[in-house]
């Protein structure tokens, strides 16, 4: 369910790193919690993003959730398909419905994120809020 090659955030984003390039998406858990996703608001190519800072939002019929950047860098590509077919986020969140691609400022940042096993453990027992 949660690919081993991805790293995960507590806010339920995933990131796949290949050199200094990375792909970012929303986890299966996140889309399931939200229900039918109806709109995705993403940054533009060239925009800077900072780790743990909001870079966009996802909307269901009755909720809005911010998307946080799992790592800092610059947006190099945006999944344009999601503007016309946001429902893909419900169908294939770990694949076709990736959100953005980022050129990483510091690939080491990603090491602090959860592995697949850690994330699944986290889903079962999230830490209490600070």
């Amino acid at each position: 369910m949660y690919p081993e090659t991805y790293r995960y955030t507590k806010e339920h984003e995933w990131i796949l790193v290949e050199g200094d390039a990375a792909t970012v998406g929303l986890t299966f858990y996140a889309q399931k919690e939200m229900g039918d996703i109806v709109y995705v608001d993403l940054p533009k190519p060239g925009d800077p993003v900072a780790q743990a800072k909001a870079m966009g939002s996802v909307e269901s019929v009755k909720a809005v959730v911010d998307i946080y950047a799992p790592a800092s860098g610059e947006v190099t590509a945006v999944n344009e398909d999601l503007s016309s077919t946001p429902e893909k986020l419900n169908e294939d969140p770990h694949g076709e419905a990736w959100l953005v691609k980022i050129r990483l400022a510091d690939p080491k940042e990603v090491e602090g994120l959860m592995t697949s096993a850690e994330y699944q453990q986290y889903l079962e027992k999230p830490e209490p809020e600070a």
Partner: protein, 497 residues
């Protein structure tokens, strides 16, 4: 089992545009008593349109049938219990409508001379006075057009007061149980919002509040009783904490139906509040408006109230405009006058004792529902109920049935649902406000329906999940509506009648 409803025929009805045919008409104008003119020549051909493309062309007969048929697709208070929590859906007396249509009032132009407007001004002054008495406040402005608009006026008043003292301050504290309009209003008034957590009792955590209040805090926005229907027992201390730091206390008066005649916000230290005349004072909701949201203040905020103010002169009422400290206008003219007339008609009909009796009946109805349902639904907060009670879907959720599903099933039993998933501090909330309007019989039908649904959830959750079954329209696909918004009819638009 279902005591209130049985199925019957409901007619289909196309849209006005689908009924149109060239040349059909629903009007006839009188003959002109002045020379006709060529508008194109008078105003300039470039300024004149050739057509209003797509605009309806229907006859009078079709218009009355169109709207009459559509009306039958609606639920309404006139049809039965409408237990939306926080909305105070009470009976809308028809005398209110007759009063608002009195010719001299309905046809009054806002700019007609003051000497020819004394009746309307007297009505406004009268209403200001009775609302001040009911709230225990010193002055009232009737200008705001709705509750959220009254909130905005109220927060701007606080800002103006603090500015006059040299520092408008930075933030507004808002309990996490508050209505969404509260934080939205604070933001519009230029303030940052800081949430205050509720205690396990569901009321404001006084210790946490004490920690949060400092010289950056402009005000606390409090709803009392709060959205759980629970009175803030510590309101005296809460007000003291804010005042000690020079901050103000704003009260969202949405729940005034729990207090009228027994408690006055002015007496427990509130500085400014709004009232929803369309809730507490019986003016019709009309499918979403119009309402009116008068704002009531203590005397230290009076100089800042919107212009114009009513003043009594030797020759009667007049409007005073020159008020240098005023926040200015929040609306053109003087407010939703027609709604003010209706509210005053209600207050005159009820009298002081009647208003108090209505409050007691509203609390009795909510307490009765709570008592009868607490064995069937989870009651997360046990503090005594005022005008509304809040259950959670915790027990039903175990069977995969959530508050929205229960709400939809309630429709099959002939009731409008309660408020779903609010307040946010109760996960899966069922927020029930019956108001004083309901008879014991209607309440018992409702209670039977809720108990029956709780049993259905155990026996046949699938049936509840697919509800409503008996309505003309079944569950609407809101996701598609939001993904590909179609917000106007077009000739080629998909989906037939």
């Amino acid at each position: 089992m279902i005591k209130k409803v049985r199925s019957h025929i409901v007619q289909n009805e196309p849209l006005l545009f689908e009924r149109s045919s060239p040349g059909k008409r629903g009007y006839q104008l009188p003959a002109l008593d002045v020379p006709a003119v060529d508008a194109s020549a008078e105003i300039g051909p470039e300024n004149v349109r050739a057509d209003i493309e797509g605009f309806p062309e229907v006859s009078e007969v079709e218009i009355i049938r169109h709207y009459t048929r559509l009306s039958t697709y609606n639920y309404a208070i006139d049809l039965g219990l409408y237990p939306l929590g926080s909305c105070t859906m009470k009976y809308n007396p028809r005398i209110n409508e007759a009063a608002a249509r009195v010719e001299g009032l309905a046809w009054a132009h806002p700019y007609q001379p003051e000497e020819l407007s004394q009746g309307a001004m007297e009505i406004m002054a009268h209403l200001e006075a009775v609302l001040a008495e009911i709230t225990g406040m010193d002055a009232v402005s009737l200008q705001p057009a709705a509750g959220a608009h009254g909130e905005m006026a109220g927060i701007l008043l606080i800002r103006a007061l603090l500015e006059s003292q040299g520092n408008p301050r930075k933030k507004i504290l808002i309990p996490d149980s508050a209505h969404g309009t509260n934080p939205a209003t604070a933001a519009i008034a230029g303030y940052a919002v800081e949430n205050v957590k509720s205690s396990t009792r569901g009321t404001i955590d006084v210790e946490a509040l004490q920690q949060a209040v400092n010289e950056d805090v402009a005000a606390l926005m409090v709803t009392n009783p709060n959205t759980l229907g629970v009175f803030e027992q510590d309101i005296g201390r809460i007000v003291g904490i804010l005042h000690e730091k020079g901050a103000q206390v704003y009260m969202d008066g949405a729940n005034m139906n729990a207090l009228t005649g027994i408690v006055r916000p002015g007496d427990f230290g509130i500085d400014v509040m709004h009232l929803n005349l369309h809730k507490t004072f019986s003016t019709p909701h009309g499918g979403g408006g119009p309402g009116a949201g008068p704002v009531a203040v203590k005397s230290h905020l009076e100089p800042f109230l919107p212009v114009p103010r009513l003043r009594r002169g030797e020759e009667g009422w007049r409007f005073e405009y020159g008020r240098p400290q005023s926040i200015g206008r929040v609306r053109a003219f003087y407010g939703n006058f027609g709604v003010l007339v209706r509210a005053l008609a209600y207050i005159l009909a009820m009298g002081g004792e009647g208003l108090k009796r209505a409050t007691l009946d509203a609390i009795l109805n909510a307490t009765y529902i709570r008592k009868k349902l607490e064995g069937h639904y989870e009651l997360p907060h046990k503090a005594p109920t005022m005008h509304e009670c809040v259950f959670s879907d915790a027990r039903q959720a175990k069977r995969g049935v959530r508050t929205m599903d229960i709400a939809k099933r309630l429709i099959d039993y002939g009731f409008h649902p309660y408020t779903v998933s609010f307040p946010l501090i109760v996960p899966g909330a069922l927020m029930i406000e019956p108001t004083e309007t309901e008879s014991k019989l209607e309440l018992d039908f409702f209670i039977d329906a809720m108990i029956s649904i709780a049993a259905e959830v155990e026996e046949n959750p699938e049936h509840v999940l697919k509800a409503p079954h008996s309505t003309r329209t079944s569950r609407v696909d809101e996701a598609t509506a939001a993904r590909k918004p179609i917000v106007r009819w077009r000739p080629e638009s998909p989906g037939g009648a």
